[in-house]
């Protein structure tokens, strides 16, 4: 009996604690798992018998494969762009002493708060066929057609996504750079290392966790990017989210839309898992990311 009493005390605590898991789980279920399960159900045959035929049909279709290819190419290129641009800009802000470096960093930070289509809209004003650049060029040189037309291609999307998501790389990078011991850099240069060697051998290794974490976040966001692609409105640039949109909203083909959505969710979740693994590997604190 004494045993039971002793055993009873610790047992009652977890039961009370675990109760608090229920409300958030319920909310999650209502808002996320339930719609997700509907999508998966629809993809697997809906009200009729369970079948994988929709999957095999959609996954082997030309449009899906093109969409997947486009998504991966755009996401990879945009992420690479973000990493390179973010690294260079952060280096300049953190290590080249100039007036207002802090304000520039803060300005870039607020960029994260802006809606993604805003940049795209600005791009249309600048590089669009009736945009500033083309109109000026036509006036100056009398071209018949707008000479700058990369915007309505894959490259336009990549450029816009790079612009929008670069701050996501810079944020953890700047945090990391601010923690690099200035004395290390000075000692390195007293040992005869020129700036490029210092960047390669001192700064880059220190920045690697932040770079990888920021890069995978960018990859995750660009894979799912919808607003930018839609806003640019390039006819040939169909990514998975665009495909889902056109299937569901324009062609009322919900089943195909759901199949693609499942693929898209699986892709995002695996990228997200990768992202968490990387952060766990480097330690979130060291990478300066949360």
């Amino acid at each position: 009996m004494a045993d039971a009493a002793i055993a009873g005390v610790p047992a009652s605590r977890p039961r009370l604690d675990s109760f608090w898991v229920v409300p958030p789980l319920l909310i999650l279920a209502a808002l996320f798992f339930y719609p997700l399960s509907l999508i998966v159900r629809e993809a697997l045959g809906g009200n009729e018998a369970f079948t994988l035929s929709h999957f095999s049909e959609v996954l082997s279709s030309r449009r899906f494969l093109d969409g997947l290819y486009n998504t991966i190419i755009i996401a990879t290129c945009a992420t690479a762009g973000c990493i390179v641009l973010g690294f260079v800009l952060s280096l300049v802000i953190a290590f080249v002493p100039f007036r207002g470096a802090k304000s520039v960093a803060r300005l870039i930070d607020t960029f994260i708060a802006l809606p993604t289509f805003l940049v795209t809209l600005a791009f249309t004003f600048i590089y669009g066929s009736a945009g500033l650049l083309n109109v000026s060029l036509i006036r100056l040189f009398g071209f018949d057609l707008p000479p700058v037309d990369f915007l309505y291609s894959q490259w336009g999307v990549i450029l816009a996504e790079t612009t929008v998501y670069t701050p996501f790389v810079m944020r953890p990078l700047l945090a990391t750079f601010s923690q690099i011991d200035q004395a290390q850099i000075e000692v390195a240069s007293s040992l005869g290392a020129k700036p490029l060697r210092i960047i390669r051998q001192i700064i880059l290794p220190a920045a690697l966790p932040a770079l990888v974490a920021g890069g995978s976040l960018c990859l995750l966001l660009t894979v799912n990017e919808f607003g930018i692609v839609l806003f640019i409105g390039a006819k040939d640039v169909i990514t998975l989210p665009m495909l889902i949109y056109s299937k569901a909203i324009q062609e009322f083909d919900y089943t195909t839309a759901c199949v693609i959505a499942v693929v898209n969710v699986a892709l995002s979740l695996s990228l997200y898992t990768l992202y968490r693994l990387i952060i766990a590997h480097f330690g979130g604190n060291r990478a300066g990311v949360v």
Binding site: V187, A188, S190, L191, G192
Partner: protein
């Protein structure tokens, strides 16, 4: 020509004492500050510094926090640009040279080892930056590690080393390129007292092994400066307040600040300086006449300070020509190997340190002390030179 001098100076390194360390030509070169000023905005943190560190010499810069010691060192390294003046290393004017072209070794307070590189890669960094072949790197790195007694730690990462070990690696890394000059900025201040003392001995040994190396050593700690340095510069508010051989600066401080900063000193206000023969002068301290050396050749009749180190005071019977003072004991403090006694004499509190006494005087008792005129000198009041 520098080359020839370097070769010549490196010869003494090949002595038996250098057997543990490689007896190689770490070249010696003069460091010269010529009227160097450094300003940050409107703030002048280094004021017309002129100072020479001769080849093979260790010069320590000491001074209170914010006096400009680190700034002076960083000007040699190339991290601060003088607003005026020149910096010379050997015969080269390096004032406008980039840090990576200056061929110096530098060791800083927090070691600044490269955290993602193993010890051997840290030491090899400078060699590789200068384009040394892998064969050279493989030969030189163990040499440098042996020099600081860290041969067994080549494969470790910095985080796997103690503070003292990290500082040895930082020194090995700085010496790998065989620099002509070595700059040390408070290299021991992050270590605890005991390790600091043994590192101090090792730095002294290192310099015996590399006698041609010219060293500029910045420190807060007068013991480090007195132990290591041939010459000591004392800085305050961006100015060099005193400069001289370590011993002579200690024995004959040129002003109040130097006397108080380097070692402890009793500075008795004295007046009516008169010549007293044999290079001595007599001065009046209250009603007492005291004799002292006049190292700084102060003028007859002047008011000045008499600098008496706490250890210069003796208790008990005295020689007939000694200076004698009597006063009242105010406090007695025992510190293991010394007794510190404060005695009030003619309204001034003087501090004396003596070997531990079996029966120390009681506070309130009267006490006679004496000191040898040869041990003390008169010092001008600071007003004389700023």
């Amino acid at each position: 020509m520098v080359q020839a001098m370097v070769m010549e100076r490196s010869l003494p390194a090949a002595t038996p004492s250098a057997s543990a360390a490689p007896a190689d030509a770490v070249g010696g070169s003069r460091i010269g500050f010529e009227n160097v000023s450094v300003t940050y905005g409107s703030l002048t943190v280094l004021q017309s510094l002129t100072l020479t560190v001769n080849p093979g010499e260790i010069v320590a810069l000491i001074g209170p926090s914010g006096s400009g010691k680190t700034t002076a060192l960083r000007a040699v390294a190339g991290f601060v640009r003088p607003s005026s003046g020149r910096i010379m290393i050997g015969d080269r004017d390096v004032t406008n040279l980039a840090p990576y072209d200056r061929k110096i070794g530098m060791v800083v307070q927090n070691y600044a080892l490269f955290p993602h590189m193993r010890v051997e890669e840290n030491v090899a960094f400078g060699l590789r930056a200068h384009g040394a072949s892998e064969a050279v790197v493989r030969a030189r790195v163990p040499e440098c590690l042996a020099m600081v007694g860290m041969g067994a730690y080549a494969k470790r990462y910095p985080r796997e080393l103690s503070g003292g070990q990290q500082q040895r690696i930082a020194i090995a890394r700085a010496l790998a390129n065989k620099p002509q000059v070595l700059l040390l900025d408070e290299p021991l201040s992050a270590l605890d007292a005991q390790i600091r003392r043994s590192m101090l001995d090792e730095l002294a040994k290192l310099h015996r092994d590399l006698p041609a190396l010219t060293v500029l050593y910045v420190t807060h700690d007068q013991t480090e400066a007195l132990t290591l340095a041939n010459h000591i510069g004392i800085m305050r508010d961006g100015r060099l307040k005193a400069f001289g051989g370590a011993q002579s600066l200690f024995r004959n401080p040129p002003n109040r600040f130097a006397a108080e900063f380097l070692g402890r000193a009793n500075l008795l206000p004295v007046n009516d300086l008169q010549p007293a023969g044999e290079g001595r002068v007599s001065v009046r301290f209250g009603a007492t006449v005291l004799k002292a050396r006049n190292h700084h050749r102060l003028a007859k009749g002047s008011d000045c300070l008499l600098c008496v180190r706490p250890h210069d005071f003796k208790l008990g019977s005295s020689r007939p020509d000694a200076n004698r003072l009597s006063g009242v004991v105010r406090s007695v403090q025992w510190q293991g190997d010394v007794h510190n006694v404060v005695v009030e004499v003619a309204g001034e509190c003087i501090r004396l340190s003596s070997a531990p006494m079996r029966e120390p005087p009681e506070p309130g008792a009267s006490l006679d002390v004496h000191f040898d005129p040869a041990d003390v000198t008169v010092v001008p009041e600071d007003g004389a030179d700023g």
